[in-house]
Subunit: 234 residues, 2 copies
């Protein structure tokens, strides 16, 4: 009899980082339950991408939770009144926290992952944050992840019973190029993923938002062919 | 010109603890924005109670956020397959974490409070947890609240900029009777609040679930008349 593999919750956005985190979790032998969020984001092509990626990589299940972050506003990703900033390909990223920051988004997403892990009796939760290319979001930093893991251990039945959830961030020290190289080695089809903050109605990437710029440079630096459909290719 | 009072987010469940926490926050001079959650709970009379309490105590605004915790299951409060336990009035509470525990509920609620506070530029968030009568929920313990506050400071723009959100738990060391005495002094109309986990269709309290038993004993011990409508009074 083969033993049942340990379960993990994997946060999946539909972007390339979380797709890579899922591939790593599967490679480490976890039975993966992927979790996406419909939070009123403009780039809703992400949600379709999350479902495709979960199925393609062989996750055990996929769930999408509705949470209305639009009710709070305050980010260019959820507020129609705010524009997503565009930059020339060679421009420096402006200092500070960008307007695409969604207040406390990872805090909320990780809290749901902890709740879901508790009901699944999962050993781990994977999140594809990375600190190198995090472009100014405070809730992608390793010090936040560590503090959150401590809080989660105290909040849950599993933690109280001495089986605290392990919060896994396999990409945290990788550059975008290293992430892409890792995923390519593990068989991720990046053509299924979506990164653009401001795609056209057919889901083609704008090529100019911060997320497109990081992604494009990542493929170039990794020496991996970029499968993204850009508006400018049309 | 009067200075604008500082803003606070107050988590409001419709129960007596959070109503008291709101009264304390208002008494301390905060402009209070109350936040409730529709998480598929059985005791939905709570949600109507939250709106009534917010208006009656003079909060600046009230918001209810939909989050589907039913998607995860695992608690008698959100899962129709599980029964809410009933006990004799004098029975001891069973040891351990009760089945009415909703996995990581306060972790999720506090994460939303942090996000909302960030968009309001609020100084504080109030939550009516108490450790004395917490009846076994791990995420009501002061050590969890402290760890969560540290994580939240690292997750947010306000925290990064040196203005971390203060997480206020004014009831944490109070017994149910002390909470009721505090609220009565501050003018809380407890007739507007709802505590029962398993009310009848008209919203009358069962009198036998853990929440009813704690509430009933609290009024008795505080020497404050209990305005609750119980099924047994009908």
């Amino acid at each position: 009899m083969t033993p049942t593999p340990p379960a993990a919750v994997v946060l999946l956005s539909g972007g390339l980082d979380s797709a890579t985190a899922l591939a790593v979790a599967i490679d480490r032998g976890f039975r993966c339950h992927t979790l996406a969020f419909d939070y009123g984001q403009r780039h809703r092509h992400e949600l379709e991408a999350a479902g495709r990626v979960s199925a393609a990589l062989g996750a055990a299940s996929h769930k999408c939770i509705d949470i209305d972050l639009r009710a709070f506003g305050g980010s260019a990703l959820t507020d129609d009144e705010l524009d997503v900033p565009k930059h020339d390909a060679d421009a420096e990223f402006p200092p500070g926290i960008p307007i695409t920051y969604v207040p406390a988004r990872n805090l909320i997403f990780l809290s749901f992952a902890v709740a879901y892990a508790e009901t699944l009796d999962a050993e781990a939760a994977f999140i594809g944050v990375n600190a190198v290319d995090y472009s100014g979001y405070p809730d992608c930093r390793p010090e936040f992840i560590g503090a959150f893991q401590s809080a989660a251990a105290l909040a849950t039945k599993a933690g109280v019973e001495g089986r605290p959830l392990a919060l896994e961030t396999p990409l945290i020290d990788l550059t975008k190029a290293q992430i892409i190289a890792t995923g390519a080695r593990l068989g991720v089809d990046y053509g299924l993923t979506h990164s653009c903050y401001d795609p056209d109605p057919e889901g083609r990437a704008c090529g100019a938002c911060d997320s497109c710029r990081l992604r494009r440079a990542g493929f170039r630096d990794a020496g991996v062919p970029d499968p993204t459909r850009y508006v400018s290719d049309a």
